[in-house]
Symmetry: D2
Subunit: 302 residues, 4 copies
Amino acid sequence: MPSEKHKWYIDHTSPGTAHIYGIENYITSFQTEYQQVEIADTEIFGRILFLDGKVQSAESDEYIYHEALVHPAMLMHPAPRRVLVIGGGEGATLREALKYQTIEHLIMVDLDRQVVEHCREYLKSWHQGSFDDRRVTIHYMDARAYLEQETATFDVIISDVPEPVEEGPALKLFTTQYFKLIKDRLSVNGLFALQAGDTCLPFIESHSAINNTLNKVMPFAMPYRAFVPSYNTEWGFILSAPFETALPAAETFDRLVEERKLNLQYFDGETARAMFAVPKDMRKHLNQETRVIDDDNLISIY
Amino acid sequence: MPSEKHKWYIDHTSPGTAHIYGIENYITSFQTEYQQVEIADTEIFGRILFLDGKVQSAESDEYIYHEALVHPAMLMHPAPRRVLVIGGGEGATLREALKYQTIEHLIMVDLDRQVVEHCREYLKSWHQGSFDDRRVTIHYMDARAYLEQETATFDVIISDVPEPVEEGPALKLFTTQYFKLIKDRLSVNGLFALQAGDTCLPFIESHSAINNTLNKVMPFAMPYRAFVPSYNTEWGFILSAPFETALPAAETFDRLVEERKLNLQYFDGETARAMFAVPKDMRKHLNQETRVIDDDNLISIY
Amino acid sequence: MPSEKHKWYIDHTSPGTAHIYGIENYITSFQTEYQQVEIADTEIFGRILFLDGKVQSAESDEYIYHEALVHPAMLMHPAPRRVLVIGGGEGATLREALKYQTIEHLIMVDLDRQVVEHCREYLKSWHQGSFDDRRVTIHYMDARAYLEQETATFDVIISDVPEPVEEGPALKLFTTQYFKLIKDRLSVNGLFALQAGDTCLPFIESHSAINNTLNKVMPFAMPYRAFVPSYNTEWGFILSAPFETALPAAETFDRLVEERKLNLQYFDGETARAMFAVPKDMRKHLNQETRVIDDDNLISIY
Amino acid sequence: MPSEKHKWYIDHTSPGTAHIYGIENYITSFQTEYQQVEIADTEIFGRILFLDGKVQSAESDEYIYHEALVHPAMLMHPAPRRVLVIGGGEGATLREALKYQTIEHLIMVDLDRQVVEHCREYLKSWHQGSFDDRRVTIHYMDARAYLEQETATFDVIISDVPEPVEEGPALKLFTTQYFKLIKDRLSVNGLFALQAGDTCLPFIESHSAINNTLNKVMPFAMPYRAFVPSYNTEWGFILSAPFETALPAAETFDRLVEERKLNLQYFDGETARAMFAVPKDMRKHLNQETRVIDDDNLISIY
């Protein structure tokens, strides 16, 4: 290892694989009621937020993750007015959703107030002031409790919660029961998008089970992926709806982006074409998946 | 628990980033006249070949790299009979090319006899006996010297050489001069495909310069990428031809794969759609590239 | 620059501390019935033997460990003729013991034939042919079984077995019951020396318990230490006898080394003075130790 | 590596060797005009101060280093009244010197005010308020400039500066010229002690050259060593005087410690016996050393 670097962060993807990040400076590090939080500056990826030892998002490429998560669902809705964001503590999911002029109410539900408050202070380039937008309301509570008590519906629901690590805060946010709660809270044309784990073949098990589970609940559910440099992998998402529909053509996405005057770095029609086309080997794996996650049959990753 | 792992291989992508691989067993390790060669077994990726400290290919996913490299070019040719493979010491590029029943002569030119001989012995699942196919001829020599002396032409030329590391053996196999030699040796419908480096945005400089250079030499040149798990990144390739043409539609690729009775794990029409669609941020980067590599103006990676 | 190093061996001393060794070349690596064996070449320490993930001995400084282990006991005996070595698979303990011209029978008892055979082949500078000395007999068996069946006595017994790691082969070779078996097999002037673990204060627990246990069995038992560069720590030993006695003065050791015409690199009178003087903090720790290890109350290290 | 640990500090002792420390929490990290400063908490060694990437001292065992550095010289002086400490930013060298009731003036000269101020804030268990003792005066300046301008003499001078790393702040504090300045500022019975680098044989070159250099300047100069767990090595010191003398016997040291009512954890007569006895191999190395360091012929370590 180059001897000028002394501080390294090791993100293990399995007992025998890891990515290591040379740290320029540690900004803050603390343990909340729910998770271990670390923010540090790196040379290559700029500032990084780590939760429970895993890269959550990086300054240099969080736009890829957040645009991929938010825009397919938002663009497929004719005019999203009420949007629910679950998780999304960095505020960047809010930032992307707020780009739509039709938005009237943007509700964010996050379990961990401490994370949000630290992101507000240290991750300014992520949220860019979104927490202070008058259309935004934040509830610090468990997403399932919120969904059970809420009676209104949403045009788009976006789930931006950490992966299901053992005893982690998001373990029950990938189950049949949870997805049914979501479905009940979608409006007539409502769409649901979620981050859905690593799609790298050796580590695809979680993504694959989540995809199969959501496909059992929703009539329309399409997995897609975006390569995020700081993750060192193609990250998985799923776009879904409680009705039958089809993915818009690349040209339609391009037209919608233009009509809605969105200023995007990553997403457009050609990007959508790359994201939603699933290579043959991964397709085979997803098609053969039979596991369904439910509250009594949870899955967790390393 | 991870502490049972003692042997780790560190592949640095920059002074401040690296991927680390827990090694089950080192198979062989030696220094040739040209490069440092290491073969080791891992739990996640099976056997891995490392050249000059970098993962070259892994048992578990080399099919992705080799199918991505070989088939777009081969399928675009109406009936490839004479094919030239430059590099490709593992023998897996040969293996893929030999799947075409039209092949009459498959010439492989590799600088480093020692690498090929060790691959023949230790990487049997890669070459699957291809070195012994009667249609195959191997020349152990510098590719440029070969191209300068060779007068025949080829239907498809595939360049499968290591990245241009400083003082590495492939430094001069990414230049204008080299690409012109290639162009001269292509037959009327000839195509040229090459591995063209990491496309991960922080490390895209080499890929970007290679792509711009080849675009100046060839009337048709399209960059594409495939995510390879053991590389932890989307790897870049370029498909090119000395005439104007267009990429076949996904359905055409599917039909061609079927007609030619190819048994493939990774490549098909939908995979092609994913590979050749370039996300907006990467497209912007490639479009703004102005560097042209030539023999007097080389580039090298970390 | 360090980044040219790709192969690293990580020897964890605790979950939060480790020493890492850049490997030039792996020589061999295998799993025997009893332990994981690895032999590798390093730049700084030359060849290293690792057992179960821990440095066992290194070419550059094994003379320190082996001279420290063997000579205090051998020199305190007036004329050692029959000597028993338990463990010592590298053959270097034999090598040191064979320097005494009075030796008639040198019995070595080692559990793991495979280790001994690989050491014979790969660690020639360690054993220097000692395995072939006509005075040497090797039994491949459990040391306790050997001691229970053996009726003859020995002038010196030397225990050179690995540390007591969980489920490791030497777990029961540090107990009261074992030390009593040893005591029974010592001749009238017999002495017993053993390697007794790390004395580094954060990791002294094993050494401290072994020392207390042996002090309960033997009327004379003195802990001592030698700093071994490749271990990155001061290694512990204990010299003991089944009768009351005192450590010879430094001058006496010097005289004995000369009389017996020993050619030594590390041990002499002044070295003995350094080894047997125990710093105040360590002395306090050893004096306060109350644990006694027995077959029903084993200890193991990380 | 155990997956619960994510933050690691790597202290390279050579391109192919390093010690790694799992970090619980980073406390502060900054670059001064002279050096890189990092303070972090570890599980095994408590808080650690790192300068330019190297462990400087650790909460759990700094008493070993500081007692070893200070007391042999202080105890050999009949009644130290004026003492000069060069470096010693942590304040622990002051703490040890202040244990002597005869002290009237304790002058500390340290180049780097920022380091001292941060130590005062974050390393309270080190200095224990010593900076505020009315007998202490601190000058923030280059030690050589101070020595050249100072006309008074000192009973004991203690040099506690970092190792001579290339372009480091202490590079010229190990030369003949520097040692002569020191000699000129010693009172009639004056003594000089300094930290003198790693004595681990593969890395002894710096210690060995410093020892030879000081032996050329001072009629009395004795190297000694103490194993410091957080350094993973036996650290070197040299005790010297501008007159011929001999080391007190262990019993004398014990008597002096008692007479002066010192409360010590590490140092006593038996510890002195261990520290000042040099093993045969190291003695041979030191005796064969011929290098003399001077301002025009500097040495530096990795």
